[in-house]
Subunit: 490 residues, 2 copies
């Protein structure tokens, strides 16, 4: 989930200056409009230590009219607070309609810290978070615009930041024992935070990840998000608003995770042949062992048109026993499927223990093609991330090995492959006008893929982005990952 916020995105000084000047005017205008609105804005700023939460809040106070902005920080509960129920201190800090309330740390600090220190079990945390979800649902049902921002910093970036602070005599005093300890427990923290965000990223109150690495980038991004989300909400007709899904699609940034994929990776033919044979042999052995041990595998395969999914599948099943796997191409739903929840058609195909199921296109269609083409309403695809995460959690908790591949190629490579297909008679059927139409929406799809990876990559079911411009490299890489995951599970 956090991969998309560990890309070290930066912003140059000049652009920042120009853009902030504009943004400040717009934010003040929006605040003015908001004053007459029938809803409050609740902004939660959480995130990794050192990712700039405090600076961000200060900056917002500078940029906006502080008379209509109120920040509450929740540290160790006071005596007054301890004498009341847990959520009391959050309730009393709720902003009235027409105003913005910033909750610094908020109801998410305790469950993360307590779980990290093993004060509570996984199930205790899940129970607490279900209360948080109920609370947030209550506020949103009442009309509140709830914006939850997570400022993120990868381990490498966090270390770097602490090191830089320590190196400069002017800032060395800011580095505490706590910071140094945070480096040690970073990996556990990341897991707990990821689980927390996953469980509470609901259709009505999804989390929004912002990379905290660069001060200018994160400041402008958060400011713009705030502007766009309030704006969007002000423009909605209140009569049509029943428990609205929050739409964060006010684009954060044009560059996405996909722009950071190294598509130059390639394999020579000879090396390819050797490696392919090696991995196929290994896979055959692992798959037999998995079958014997009743470990099931589900593979979810997504990718651009012409990215080479078919060829990849053929290389995999070459190593498998036909009695133990099934390939399921997902096209238009059947009548029976159409008459049920969109996840039903995937649930029904789960195989018995020890089998492998390969889905050629998957349940992610909901947040890819259905989102981009408008087949699903906004509230439908926005809440689908949570529905999918729940579905996948049922699979992985049952012990199923779940692999999710995004087979990635760039736009030029796709065109070259389209052209090539048109010239080979037995491949002509694979290329239609629709493929060209989809191509025109490349940027929308790219944004949808980035959101998908950001919202559904979890520790137990991570997305693997396969560098696909070179087919040989992609096939071997996919086999390698499959073998590694199986090995780990056996």
């Amino acid at each position: 989930m956090f991969e998309a916020a560990e890309l070290e995105r930066t912003l140059d000084k000049e652009t920042y200056k120009t853009e902030v000047a504009k943004l400040r005017v717009e934010l003040i205008e929006i605040q003015q409009r908001l004053l007459n609105a029938d809803f409050p804005v609740i902004l939660l700023i959480s995130g990794v230590d050192g990712a700039g939460k405090g600076e961000m809040v200060n900056l917002l106070h500078e940029w906006m009219d502080p008379r209509h902005l109120e920040t509450s920080a929740f540290d160790t509960p006071t005596d007054e607070e301890k004498e009341r129920p847990h959520f009391w201190r959050y309730w009393r800090a709720l902003p009235p309609k027409g105003k913005i309330g910033i909750h610094f740390s908020s109801w998410y600090s305790d469950p993360i810290a307590d779980r990290l220190q093993d004060k509570i079990t996984d199930n205790d945390q899940e129970a607490y978070l279900s209360r948080v979800n109920t609370l947030e649902k209550m506020l949103v049902d009442d009309g509140a615009l709830l914006i939850k921002i997570w400022l993120h910093l990868g381990k490498k970036q966090y270390k770097e930041r602490i090191k830089n602070l320590a190196a400069d005599p002017k800032t060395a005093w800011r580095v505490t024992k706590k910071n140094l300890n945070n480096i040690k427990v970073y990996d556990q923290f990341r897991d707990v935070a990821e689980e927390t965000l996953r469980q509470t990223s609901t259709g009505h109150a999804p989390w929004i990840l912002v990379e905290g690495y660069d001060q200018r980038y994160r400041s402008l991004t958060v400011g713009r998000l705030l502007r766009d989300m309030i704006q969007k909400r002000l423009d909605v007709d209140p009569k049509t608003l029943v428990s609205p899904a929050v739409d964060w699609t006010a684009k954060k940034d044009k560059t996405t995770l996909l722009d950071f994929v190294d598509l130059n990776k390639a394999l020579e033919k000879k090396e390819y042949k050797e490696k392919l044979a090696d991995y196929q042999a290994r896979l055959n052995e692992l798959a037999r062992k998995a079958h014997k041990n009743k470990i099931s595998t589900v593979m979810a395969l997504e990718g651009w048109d012409a990215a080479g999914k078919g060829g990849m599948i053929r290389r995999m099943i070459h190593a498998l026993d036909a009695r133990h796997y099934r390939v399921l191409p997902i096209a238009a739903p059947t009548d029976e499927e159409h008459a049920r929840h969109y996840l039903w058609r995937f649930w029904r195909h789960l195989q018995r223990a020890g089998h492998m199921t390969i889905f050629d296109r998957t349940w992610y269609g909901r947040v890819l093609v259905e989102r981009v083409e408008g087949y699903a309403r906004n509230d439908e695809w926005i809440r689908a991330y949570q529905e999918i995460n729940e579905f996948e959690e049922e699979l992985t908790e049952h012990g199923i090995v779940l692999l999710k591949y995004w087979l990635h190629i760039d736009k030029d490579e796709q065109l070259a492959r389209f052209k090539a297909r048109e010239e080979i008679s037995y491949k002509q059927h694979k290329i239609t006008d629709e493929d060209y139409r989809n191509r025109e929406k490349w940027d929308d799809y790219a944004q949808a893929v980035a959101d998908m990876v950001e919202r559904t990559s979890t520790p137990n079911a991570p997305w693997h982005i396969i560098e696909g411009n070179d087919k040989r490299y992609a096939r071997v890489r996919a086999l390698e990952i499959l073998c590694e995951r199986l090995e780990k599970a056996l």
Copy 2:
């Protein structure tokens, strides 16, 4: 919560016969209309052993067109099922659009049985139920009409039923060891079931309690509910339907819990004076002890107009130290309150540890006056039960003693008191045209009170219905309950 379904309601044979004949025609017609609808109906039938679940399901199959009705029973998981994730067997049994699927036992059996046998902790159960809520939300968001019926039988009635079965040689074989054991664990079962229903009675999928004592009563009630709820849903314009709140207000029955309250209870003046003084002395002592031990009390006082709330409060505070309690009359919200969630005005008034807070009218206004007068939309008051339960759970989990009184009088008594007030000059201000207008809606209010008690009476925060036709009796009874609850908590 279950009190309302332990009233031993019955229905005579003649009425039953006539009504069922009509109902069967209507159910078949509705099934026909449903066939073309864009949603499935999922009917969960759960409840107490012996409350007639099996008979009910059989009867529905008899009454309706079985081609469009499918029942799935979930017993011990089969091998096939064990090899898949937990929810797989429920997913595969989901009915398609246009049809009715009955889930017998369903996803609620395991959490209740497991908790009862201490296989899982409270938090484990809460975590599981939060998944159930997500699953149900998913189905409802997708358009499904989800009807959850709990067939109930009180302990006394359950014992009676087992005894009757055992006494008749023709049915004695039906009484098993399991039945006899169920009698022993009935009280625990009731608590676990109540907690389960409370946590999963959401705005989009509330539980509906039906008393299972009399075969004719329960059969007709369930059949009518099914008819009315599908009918209502068929009549809704699908365009306005976004995650609909289920409206069960298709009246189950005209008699409610309130009709079973014995309003003849009274106290002679002499006895009253003695008891009043006794309880006040006892309360004084208990309240001082509570203050010392930092135990807080919250009293929620509701009741009919002119039921005598004011006089009751005066008798209570007579025994209290003014520094340690506050009386909060709840009238129209202030500007500040109006600008926030409706529960905010109650959260803010929670006192420090060791204090007593008496709310004269409460957060229940949402499901009483706001419901009846239409100040709250249907979806708003329907989901309010869950919101209120969550709120109260925060209080009781923090250790607060929460008392909820419904001060009950009958319609004649109210009129007599109105007239009396009009004749006493210093009480004239207490009676207005509005009081008479509210009186006209007596039956609607009675239904709202019955629903309120049914949906929000929980083991830790039960409703106490005070027999109020005799003021003396009511005051002493309220003091008695207060003392008992405090004693238990100290």
